[in-house]
């Protein structure tokens, strides 16, 4: 009996599973059949026929004017006719030129130009025709810079180092390209007959403009049918880059036996790093010598492992001309390790020097990206509108009837889902029609969730997490695909021109590869690059650096070439993985001479116990300390000495989404009161305000002191050794801080503000430098739609808004046990100087990529840093408001108890006064104990020596 029951149950379960599976399968099949065989041209038509796409983008512009394209010869407007002086376009300065056009037509516009700026970020420019922006893309046009490769250098361990790119300011010709480089053919302009005014202005960088050209669209030659007869061979090692147009493309060293050159124990630069050669429009150029005229095959040793089953595309130019049609958008299929691919047709090369250019092309992705962006915008808008109705209510048991509001949810969602299927089908048809291409599989997931939601449109408010918010929502899935397909990573080892009878270089065989790998493994036991040296009698200056190896390589190279030459002191930089090691090394008498990049909170404890040298005793102390904002020096102050100076800094500023604020017509708050006034507005739409307090699990000084200082509070009583928590100002500050959560209902824990900011769930909030870096480099879809304003402060009696906030990050210090204190000080002097910090910032960002931003504490170096100018100004203003709490013996207990006040009031519902009293008692007791330990008072509480509580005025006095 039991058995029969079990079998019946099993059958029911299985049939249920199959049925649902069948349903899903059928619906997928149905959609697939509707969207089979979509080609790229179809996508373009689909895109142009979409509702609501903005009228002024280039796709529309081009389709309007394309039958009136210019057919004639190239027309040149010499620079002398355009202007009587040099045409120099700089940031915030418009320059107009007038040209006489003989025929109304759609022209390709070209101009000679020379870059003048030292910017690392690509030069960007804006173009207006007769006072108007012709199409959206013209707001930001991309101009190629030319970067030469610096001389190959070796570090002190004989490894090859990445050569620093050098910007070359030469004349070149540019056409109009959008910043994403979705159009690798130049964008065109429709010019009416008669006089036309072209207005240029720069966004980043500055350029000089020369002759102007109007020409017809170029056509590319047909593929040749000849084969490459002969036995000539030209091998180009891809890492020997002649020029490139972005410093972010970099050669790299990889221990991969398939690569040449390879050395099992030394680092050899041997390939173009796969992750670095990806952004649309970036280009590598090689010059090479041809000995005999003739047809040549072109082969690449490449790797494309980051896009599974998905090709990336490159345009190949020989002497700036695409040789034949196969070389326009040449596909590089998925390859997990380095392998060889030969282009389908041969190229004719004449004897002499030629230039080969390889350029990232996104032409095939263009319409997909445009369609997907339209969909994500649509989802965003719909979520916002729905939230306006529901006020962000996601309660499961609250029913909404959304029909009367005319959102057409079902229709919209189904249309979007169909579009997603069409895009998916078009993109997979590019990749030999594979059914499941990993790179774009998220489109299928997104389409499925959209269809599921479309069935019950009234449940959308509860399903916003699947729809628009969060990491697994349909919108995020689509955004991820857009991000994936708008870059095309490609690693290159060799480029080979060969004729059919030539003997091609072969990669190493299996056994040799095994042998080389074993040798590499064995050598890893003996090599000690950048490991700390514990030798006390060492002749060289020992500096420990708490940073990863990439940073050290550059620092060491700069120190060897610059510092050692200037001062005649050799420096050994070593990596300290763990700061606790400093304490232990010091206890065992093996401390280094100096240390760089230790966290600022760590310095005081070392200084108090006499492990560090007072920097005020050095001659040129003032000159060096004046490089920083005075408030930033605070963490290094102990008694009346300064024991550390800052190296990097942090900042707290307010980030906000300009797009959302403009749509909703909201004002960016200046003070905390205005923030609170803004909260109901945001809350009504289901949005929130992020405070940096919610991002730190540890409630350190930087979460509590800004509120206290802004309200005019002090942590310690003047001239006494008791804490000052019960003063009205401090209470006011703490009240403001805690009421943000208890009364104003700000979120107390936000795991990722970056994600919430991208989703639009939190379109505004205070946060730190890390968020700045993430938003700059890891949120491409937000480019141009966020901004920075100062930390919202408190208005004082004079009407001034006090915006004090923390800003300490990492510091440099000299150890008192060292016998080379002067040399160590010289090193720190050199290292924190404006020139060296600026050079380091540029070198770091240009050799390792834009993610490696350098937040130097040196004020002049920040001004000169390669960051976007629009953000730099706001950050600089906030830096002048940097104020760190003073450190005294036992200040950790103040930090901790202030945090506990916050925790107890917010999560336990304790009364603020009670919590503060409790904290004050604990602080005072611990302070007495600590002061006794360090001999400031005796057992009975009598003063033995004066405890100096540093304040900003004292530091300012030192600096004068």
């Amino acid at each position: 009996m039991k058995k029969i029951c079990r079998i019946i149950a099993l059958v029911i379960i299985i049939s249920l599973v199959f049925q649902s599976d069948y349903h899903i399968g059928r619906s997928l099949y149905k959609n697939a059949s509707a969207s089979d065989n979509i080609s790229l041209d179809d996508l373009n038509k689909i895109y142009l026929s979409m509702n609501n796409i903005s009228d002024n983008n280039y796709a529309k512009y081009f389709s309007t004017y394309q039958d009136r394209a210019y057919q004639g010869d190239k027309i040149t407007y010499p620079v002398e006719q355009l202007s009587h002086s040099d045409i120099i376009v700089e940031e915030a300065r418009e320059v107009s030129v007038k040209i006489e056009v003989k025929e109304s037509a759609l022209y390709v516009v070209g101009f000679d130009y020379k870059t003048l700026g030292d910017n690392i970020l690509p030069t960007k420019m804006q173009l207006k025709v007769n006072g108007n922006i012709p199409y959206e893309e013209a707001r930001r046009l991309f101009l190629s810079d030319t970067w030469l490769t610096g001389e190959l250098q070796h570090d002190r361990y004989n490894n090859e180092c990445i050569a620093m790119p050098i910007k070359d300011k030469v004349w070149g010709v540019s056409y109009l390209h959008d910043t994403y480089f979705l159009y690798s053919d130049p964008m065109m302009l429709y010019l009416e007959k008669g006089e036309n005014t072209l207005t240029f202005s720069a966004i980043d960088g500055s350029i000089q403009i020369g002759n102007l050209y109007l020409l017809a669209q170029q056509t590319i030659a047909e593929d040749p049918i000849e084969s490459a007869e002969g036995n000539h061979l030209i091998v180009i090692e891809a890492e020997d880059i002649t020029t490139r147009n972005s410093p972010n493309i970099r050669a790299a060293a990889e221990y991969n036996t398939k690569l040449t050159p390879y050395s099992p124990d030394l680092q050899k630069i041997n390939n173009v790093s796969e992750g670095s050669f990806k952004t649309g429009g970036t280009r590598i150029e090689y010059s090479f010598e041809v000995e005999t005229d003739g047809y040549y095959n072109l082969a690449f040793d490449y790797r494309q492992s980051l896009k599974s089953d998905f090709s990336v595309y490159r345009n190949i130019y020989i002497d700036d001309i695409v040789p034949s049609q196969s070389f326009k958008n040449l596909a590089f299929p998925y390859e997990r390790n380095y392998s060889r691919m030969t282009a389908p047709t041969a190229i004719y090369l004449s004897k002499g020097t030629h230039k080969l250019s390889i350029e990232v092309s996104l032409d095939y992705m263009r319409d997909s990206i445009s369609i997907l962006r339209e969909i994500t915008d649509g989802i965003n808008d719909l979520a916002l509108q729905v939230n306006k109705v529901t006020g962000g209510n996601t309660n499961k048991y609250r029913d909404f009837n959304l029909e009367p509001y005319g959102f057409n949810i079902t229709d919209k969602l189904n249309t979007w889902a169909d579009l997603l299927d069409q895009v998916h089908s078009a993109l997979s048809s590019l990749n030999s029609n594979k059914k499941n291409v990993g790179e774009i599989s998220q489109l299928k997931i997104a389409a499925t969730s959209l269809r599921r939601i479309a069935k019950q449109p009234n449940e959308l408010p509860q399903r916003l997490n699947q729809f628009s918010y969060g990491t697994s929502s349909a919108r995020q899935n689509i955004t991820n695909v857009v991000e994936n397909i708008s870059v095309g990573q490609l690693g290159l080892d060799k480029i080979i021109f060969y004729q059919d009878d030539a003997k091609l270089p072969q990669s190493v065989g299996f056994f040799q590869s095994l042998w080389l790998s074993t040798k590499h493994f064995l050598s890893s036991f003996t090599r000690k690059d950048y490991a700390p040296n514990y030798d006390e009698d060492s002749e060289t200056l020992q500096i420990w650096v708490a940073r990863p190896r990439q940073y050290l390589e550059i620092m060491q190279r700069m120190a060897d070439s610059d510092f050692s030459k200037e001062y005649g002191i050799t420096v050994d930089l070593s990596i300290v993985p763990d700061q606790q090691k400093l304490i232990l090394a010091n206890a065992s008498g093996k401390a280094p001479d100096g240390v760089v990049a230790i966290s600022s909170g760590f310095v005081y404890d070392l200084a108090l116990r006499g492990a560090l040298v007072n920097m005020r005793d050095f001659d040129n102390f003032k000159e060096i300390a004046n490089r920083f904002a005075p408030g930033m020096l605070m963490p290094g102050v102990c008694d009346d000495g300064l024991y550390a100076i800052p190296e990097t800094f942090n900042f707290l500023v307010q980030y906000y989404r300009t797009d959302i604020f403009n749509t909703l017509g909201l004002k960016v708050p200046e003070t905390m009161d205005e923030v609170r006034a803004l909260l109901p507005e945001l809350e009504r739409m289901g949005m929130g305000y992020n405070t940096h307090v919610a991002n730190n699990l540890v409630k350190t000084f930087n979460t509590t002191t800004p509120f206290i200082f802004q309200n005019g509070g002090q942590l310690m009583k003047n001239g006494e050794i008791t804490s000052n928590l019960d003063s009205p100002e401090v209470i006011k500050g703490l009240k403001q801080l805690t009421e943000n959560f208890t009364i104003y209902n700000m979120k107390y824990e936000v795991v990722s503000f970056y994600q919430a900011f991208r989703d639009g769930r939190m379109p505004i909030g205070t946060s730190d430098y890390a968020t700045f870096n993430l938003l700059t480099n890891a949120a491409p879809e937000l480019a141009d739609s966020w901004a920075i304003s100062l930390y919202p402060g408190v208005k004082n009696e004079d009407g001034e808004v006090l915006r004090y906030a923390s800003g300490a990050a990492e510091s440099c210090a000299v150890f008192s046990s060292s016998d080379k204190q002067d040399a160590a000080w010289k090193f720190i002097d050199w290292w924190t100087s404006t020139e060296v910090q600026t050079e380091f910032a540029y070198t770091l960002q240009s050799t390792l990529g834009n993610e490696y931003m350098w937040n130097s504490a040196n004020l002049d170096a920040i001004m000169a840093s390669p960051w976007s100018t629009e953000y730099k100004n706001a950050i600089m203003q906030q830096i002048s408001w940097t104020l760190e709490p003073p450190r005294i013996p036992g200040s950790y207990i103040i930090e901790r108890e202030l945090g506990n006040v916050l925790v107890n009031v917010v999560t336990q519902g304790t009364n603020l006064r009670t919590a503060v009293d409790d904290a004050e008692k604990k602080i005072d007791r611990e302070l007495l104990r600590k002061l006794e330990e360090f001999g400031y008072i005796d057992r009975d509480g009598n003063k033995l020596k004066e405890l100096i509580i540093p304040d900003i005025d004292m530091i300012k006095e030192w600096l004068e």
Partner: protein, 295 residues
């Protein structure tokens, strides 16, 4: 006579590695800790002798220790120790009832959490207990309509200790569990058969009258291991809340307290005092366990 002396010598040689390691890694540190316990040592300057000052401070001044750390440790140990112990016995007993292949697989699965270090464990649990609506538990509770606003599981002082206990129980099936499992499997099946003939009526009688009495040594071993473990873990609270001290000392255990004094306040002398106290507590409780399981 001569022969006998040689025998003793050989025995010592065999003991030598153990004695050496025991001396270097256990005895010397304990003696050093006892010595440091009477000093004021800040890890940078030389230690200063202060007599019983640290002990007096511990008993009279250390409010946090008396109000938070000691109660927390007791609650934590009283729950995680016995409950974990009973759980590992029950699980081992149940596993012993099934056939070999599934038993091995399940035993491995149950044992594996105790192998993962605090950090790896906390990463998993942190996502589950994350304090915004993206955390698994919060998301499920919101989905079910039980709560409207996410609960701050790991930063709210109310919940932290409970979560620490849950996570520790999950990972408490360690060596003790394996010892019990081995003990149960080792019992001669003939004993059970004989008992059945003598009139044993059910499995529970079997467990109480035969299984437990037959495997006292393993039970003792598991008990001592459980005691030592519950007192000497501390990383989990710090890892979950991301801070030492834990918010409002809600999850502060003795080990965290030692860490706090040793590496945040740099008072190695005081930290040695507290660790000595911990040693005494662990030692006396395992003595007690030994009494319980010895006839």
């Amino acid at each position: 006579m001569k022969n006998r002396r040689l025998k003793i010598n050989i025995a010592y040689y065999f003991l030598l590695p153990y004695i050496l390691l025991f001396l270097v890694f256990i005895v010397v540190p304990i003696i050093a800790a006892i010595g440091l316990g009477f000093t004021n040592f800040n890890a940078v300057e030389a230690p200063k002798f202060v007599g019983f000052m640290n002990y007096i401070n511990l008993l009279t001044q250390d409010e946090v220790f008396m109000q938070k750390v000691l109660p927390n440790t007791c609650i934590f140990a009283l729950i995680v120790g016995p409950v974990g112990y009973v759980l590992s016995f029950l699980l081992a007993w149940m596993l012993a009832q099934i056939s070999k292949l599934p038993r091995t697989i399940l035993a491995l699965l149950i044992y594996s959490p105790s192998l993962t270090s605090g950090i790896a464990m906390a990463v998993v649990w942190k996502i589950i207990f994350a304090g915004d609506q993206m955390g698994y538990i919060n998301s499920i509770l919101i989905e079910l309509g039980i709560i409207n606003d996410p609960i701050l599981f790991v930063t709210d002082a109310k919940y932290l200790l409970i979560i620490m206990i849950i996570v520790s129980l999950w990972s408490s099936m360690g060596v003790g569990f394996l010892a019990i499992l081995a003990g149960i499997l080792n019992i001669d099946t003939q004993v059970y058969e004989a008992a059945a003939i003598d009139g044993l009526r059910n499995r529970f009688q079997e467990m109480f009258y035969i299984t437990i009495p037959m495997m006292k040594p393993q039970m003792l071993f598991a008990a001592v291991m459980a005691v030592v473990n519950t007192f000497s873990v501390g990383a989990i609270g710090v890892q979950l809340s991301g801070t030492n001290p834990t918010p409002a000392y809600a999850g502060q255990l003795i080990v965290n307290h030692i860490d706090d004094y040793g590496f945040i306040r740099y008072e190695m002398g005081y930290a040695s005092t507290v660790s000595l106290l911990l040693l005494i507590i662990i030692y006396s409780i395992s003595k007690f366990a030994r009494k319980l399981f010895k006839d």
